[in-house]
């Protein structure tokens, strides 16, 4: 760490929860913001050295290079099953999965629903940008009605492709869930609220209260064919319009944490 001159105050450091590497994420993508928030939360809660991460298949497939924790790479959709395996044999560790919308809301729906319903003591960070980014912009389970993608060239037709999946509501309705919330990293206030939610999600796990998931509405400027700022405002308007922000599940145990805790 570089020396700070005596007459200056250090107001910014890279969290130790992140490695010192350039990410592969596209310009304007908000994965980096979410990574950063997780890194900060791991530091602030003092849990980095006992945290095990599970990376997904999708844009965040290389997340294991960026989180400074012991970490494994799952097959597509199976991160919650892997996390279950890790947590069951290492109950004293803090375990989290990092998953996108194709991973969690399409191919991996069975695993996330059953993990949540069993009340597995791990935390899922679910980044929803309404598109398959890594494969080049195909329709996701969360793609909005009428949204044009490379596999819905005339726009998502609800009669044919069904409806965008509201995962926070679905997972939040399960009796095994303890804390489920939907946040957005589309402006500074949203980023602060997302960090607060991530903190509460990890504390839910640390206190052994139950399963926690933070859905984060995110952008994909490249595959949405928008400039980064345009993508942010489109997401604020359209994504937040379809996917309302806020908690979909908060048990009394979590509420007690959120009122007394530092989150």
């Amino acid at each position: 760490m570089t020396q700070v001159p005596e007459n200056m105050e250090r107001i910014y450091v890279r969290p130790t929860g992140l490695t010192v590497k350039d990410t592969h994420y596209c310009p304007g993508c908000t994965h980096g913001t979410v990574h950063r928030l997780i890194g900060e939360v791991l530091d602030e809660l003092g849990i980095r050295e006992r945290t095990i991460g599970i990376a997904p298949v999708g844009c965040a497939v290389l997340a294991y290079y960026y989180f400074n924790v012991d970490i494994a790479e799952a097959s597509h959709g199976r991160a919650p099953a892997m996390a279950t395996g890790v947590k069951r044999v290492s109950p004293d560790k803090i375990v989290f999965t990092y998953q996108g919308d194709g991973d969690l809301a399409a191919i991996g729906t069975a695993e996330i629903i059953h993990a949540a319903n069993r009340g597995e003591r791990f935390t899922t960070v679910f980044v929803n940008n309404a598109i398959y980014g890594m494969t080049g912009g195909q329709m996701a389970p969360t793609t909005l009605p009428g949204q044009v993608t490379t596999s819905s060239p005339t726009g998502r037709d609800l009669r044919d492709a069904g409806f965008p999946m509201k995962m926070a509501e679905l997972i939040g309705s399960l009796p095994g869930s303890a804390y489920v919330t939907r946040q957005a990293v589309l402006d500074p206030a949203g980023i602060r609220r997302t960090k607060k939610a991530l903190t509460l999600a990890f504390r839910t796990q640390m206190e052994g209260v139950g399963f926690s998931m933070v859905e984060v509405l995110s952008t994909c400027p490249v595959n949405w064919h928008m400039q980064p700022l345009e993508a942010l405002s489109w997401a604020k308007d359209k994504l937040v319009g379809y996917y309302p922000l806020g908690d979909t599940c908060m048990t009394d145990g979590v509420r007690a944490l959120s009122t007394k805790g530092k989150g």
Binding site: R50, T51, I52, Y64, R78, A81, M82, K93
Partner: protein
């Protein structure tokens, strides 16, 4: 230790517990469900992890997670369930974490039936999932051997950081036999987990377990490493059992339950004055190729008997290097090939050999 009367499935589960398995993840499927049931009762008693997963896909990925965390872990299933696990098995193989999978094989293809079968030989030995790798595959012929193989499977999995399959046909899983269970080994403590395991990055760089290797040369390097390990296994881990092979002129080759049936055939044939022996591969991979090549230059002909349409026979033919004719007899769908139908096939082989006849022609029911 004294013998107990026990069914193969329960014996497999109890053997794993005594071998120090820390966690079991599984899903019900006939004819292996007793494995799951035994674990569901015994693991909580021992203070270890039992979880009935939502699918075989989840089971194998739970195994993958627990293996990454450094725990001794296994799952079990039967043929269609193993098909569902194949992606996970491939990830485990590439990631080089130790794990044990038991397949109590049933009739296929498709939903097939729940009768004993050996039709998953190709799947276990040749194509356990996508990509270039093999599992060590152990094929027990008795309940006792199933017990011994489970213990061995954990040790081999740890030794090579590999996935080991115990492939038993449904008969082994379902039948009761007197067998001796191994002594209880101490369970590995969390502090004794391997240095590559995901246990928390304290005062070191993070451990990363992945099967993703971008860049052609990079992935080729990983594959070359895997291949080197496979060659080591081929050198060290070939296992087989033989019966009356010393003076044999004709050789029966069979694995698992069929190997056992063929012992009876050897006795019956010898009573008729035929010099017949039995070679029973115990490791289906690595295959006892060298030994079979040796035998092929000594005997006058081989008859391979399987509960499938002819799978291991391909490896026997390859190993025999055309040094003697190799015949095949197989039954499918869960039908046992019995001594009174195998013996005539053996006599036909003997007649062909003594007539100095043609080589390696197909003989099928």
């Amino acid at each position: 230790m004294s013998k107990v009367l026990i069914d193969g499935n329960s014996a497999i589960a109890e053997a794993a517990i005594r071998a120090g398995v820390e966690a079991y993840f599984g899903y019900p499927i006939t004819p292996q469900t007793e494995v799951l049931e035994h674990f569901s009762r015994r693991m909580p008693e021992e203070g270890r992890v039992f979880l009935q997963a939502e699918s075989e896909i989840a089971s194998i990925n739970m195994v993958y997670g627990a293996a990454c965390a450094g725990a001794r872990v296994m799952t079990s299933s039967s043929s269609p369930g193993i098909s569902l696990m194949q992606e996970g098995i491939s990830y485990i193989a590439c990631s080089e974490v130790p794990a044990v999978v038991v397949n109590i094989m049933r009739g296929g293809p498709g939903l097939g039936n729940v009768q004993p079968s050996q039709a998953d030989y190709f799947q276990a030995v040749k194509s356990a999932g996508h990509g270039d790798y093999h599992m060590i595959v152990l094929a027990p012929a008795t309940v006792q051997e199933a017990i011994d193989h489970v213990v061995l499977a954990f040790d081999l999995a740890d030794k090579y950081r590999t996935i080991v399959m115990v492939a038993a046909d449904g008969a082994i899983g379902q039948m009761m036999e007197p067998a001796e269970l191994p002594p209880m080994r101490p369970v590995r403590r969390a502090s004794e987990r391997a240095d590559w395991a995901l246990v928390g990055a304290v005062d070191r760089e993070p451990n990363i377990i992945t099967s993703l290797w971008l860049g052609a040369e990079n992935l080729e390097r990983i594959n070359l490493g895997l291949q080197r390990k496979l060659r080591e296994m081929e050198k060290n881990e070939v296992r087989y059992k033989e019966y009356e092979t010393e003076d044999a002129e004709l050789l029966l080759v069979a694995f698992g339950t069929v190997g056992r049936i063929c012992r009876t055939v050897v006795r019956e044939a010898r009573a008729l004055g035929m010099k017949v022996g039995l070679h029973r591969p115990v490791t289906l991979w690595p295959f006892p190729e060298e030994r079979l090549a040796e035998l092929a230059s000594r005997v006058e002909g081989m008859l391979v008997v399987e509960m499938n349409a002819g799978q291991m026979v391909e490896d026997v033919r390859r190993s025999s290097r055309d040094r003697c004719p190799v015949h095949f007899h197989g039954r499918m769908g869960g039908v046992f090939p019995l001594p009174d139908e195998i013996l005539p096939k053996l006599q036909a082989l003997a007649a062909e050999v003594s007539a100095g006849g043609a080589r390696a022609t197909e003989a099928n029911p």
